[in-house]
Symmetry: C2
Subunit: 351 residues, 2 copies
Amino acid sequence: MNSNKSFEPGCPLPISAKNTVQLAHGGGGRLMQELIQDVFVRAFQNPMLESLHDGATWPVEKGTLAFTTDSYVVRPLFFPGGDIGSLAVNGTINDLAMCGAKPLYLSAGFILEEGLSLDVLQQVVNSMAEAAQAAGVPIVTGDTKVVDRGKGDGIFIHTSGVGFVPTGVRVLPTLIQPGDAILVSGDLGSHGVAVLSVREGLTFDSPIESDSAPLHRIVADLIECDIEIHCLRDLTRGGLASVLNELATAAKVGMTVDESVIPVSEPVRGACELLGLDPLYVANEGRFVAMVPASQIEATLAVMRQHAASSQSAYIGAVTDHQSPPIVLRTVLGTHRVLDLLSGEQLPRIC
Amino acid sequence: MNSNKSFEPGCPLPISAKNTVQLAHGGGGRLMQELIQDVFVRAFQNPMLESLHDGATWPVEKGTLAFTTDSYVVRPLFFPGGDIGSLAVNGTINDLAMCGAKPLYLSAGFILEEGLSLDVLQQVVNSMAEAAQAAGVPIVTGDTKVVDRGKGDGIFIHTSGVGFVPTGVRVLPTLIQPGDAILVSGDLGSHGVAVLSVREGLTFDSPIESDSAPLHRIVADLIECDIEIHCLRDLTRGGLASVLNELATAAKVGMTVDESVIPVSEPVRGACELLGLDPLYVANEGRFVAMVPASQIEATLAVMRQHAASSQSAYIGAVTDHQSPPIVLRTVLGTHRVLDLLSGEQLPRIC
């Protein structure tokens, strides 16, 4: 490579010469500038990011802000129905939505392993850009680091998000009260099983795709329709059972849910039986629970079912007075089973 | 361990039983809850974090917000004058300050490697908590992931930050104009050399400590004193030379700086000579450049020199009309040298 030529715009890029990420791509020099311009800025294009300042700035009205963060280490990077890029965008949008917020802007931080294929990086970044575009939530600031080969695992992504909570909206675990209805936005377990299937090389008769999806428009509709939401929570790591435990503990209540009405697709149920997994503990990336007053069940379900990602919403149980252990499942056999927090996890690195 | 006992508060923690991070600590179950409560929430204590909601929310006045993000992969985790924890807090505070913003809140995301000592994690988290406390910027939301042994490197930290830009304040690369003075807030190169020294097992006659420090109070003072700031930028990866290149390119100007007045301490100068490094390209974590009108040089230096972290502030050069290459150094010998962007980096994983 002629080093003088690399000063001129339009010349062949050093980064494409080797087609892999080098330590120098994280070094603050020309290679990093080119990576930022040619991969990130080009894909995420928006004026705030293009300013290449240390941060993004924008005017805001008086109100309430929401702020959230998540790291993504899913393995493998690509799986049926999604990849680490779309997951990192949807997941953080969903965390904002679960606060009742309208997501405004995202940040993206990358930890790349030396030797990563630049084509793979480009694919992931394109997927992020598409997910951000589809959700209408731009990525406005970012950071890139490179770690030595064997000190990372291809790509880790960190996204943070800022949102605006509409006036009068309060969505908090502590607002949950006995008598509230528990609604779930769709069938459970697809994300975890989809990731596991490709990781373990399993094939099923009916292909299982991740449920990864942005949920903010559903929440915006619930707010728009004046549904009295007490709490929302997306059913990620640890699945429905773990989330209900967390919420019940925070709200100092109990909850009883009915196995016969908790939606689980036949392929996921079959795969879980085969793999010895309980779908109630499997991670989802496009499902949430909503706690609303019992009087609002029908109205809430009507709004939720208008959206593709929550078309199978179901009323699955009720909040009770405090009980210990807090979460009880009424099984299809009519018996009762405690849904405790697992010690660890069924599936590592699922998100 | 009696598994029933782990349900009760105050009992010996399973996490301390093995004293290392397990994959299960990232799994959404009981071990993760305990890690969050016993390590993170306890150290970062504040009501917003303790709500354990999917995000933090707070009321905001009409105005301008700033939002920034950074990942930290420094190796080793501890070095003279700092560690990855304080670096992750100060670095993101500084990115907000460089936008002219008063930092409000931080998020913290952790990617932990299976097998990491919980004592090391606690030390890093305590250092973050102290840095956040000292800076008056609480960590209000977070996330933890665990990756398999050999797929990470101990601890990676992502911090994002949100700040409020005071009315009328605009600090942008594009505001830099020919005739502006270039000021630097102190001596250069200590951070990079301090990290390198411990990584390579080097000892120097005079110990060299990282300059890692929060810079937001200096910036707040400059704004308070009505200094007409055109641009600010912290001198991290790539050091002074790379930052000046970036800013000159963004502002479509040239810059000429004077080697004889650029502060570099004798120990750092000696270490750089020994190691074949150019201190103008070495990363700093508590130094910044300010571009201000020439009429404001003395007033700006007077404010900056009141703060310990910028007591050695110096006027080092001037912005010129566009020139190519953009950055010229007037050497101590009276000759001129181009300060170009390096292709890669002198020191990998310095922040």
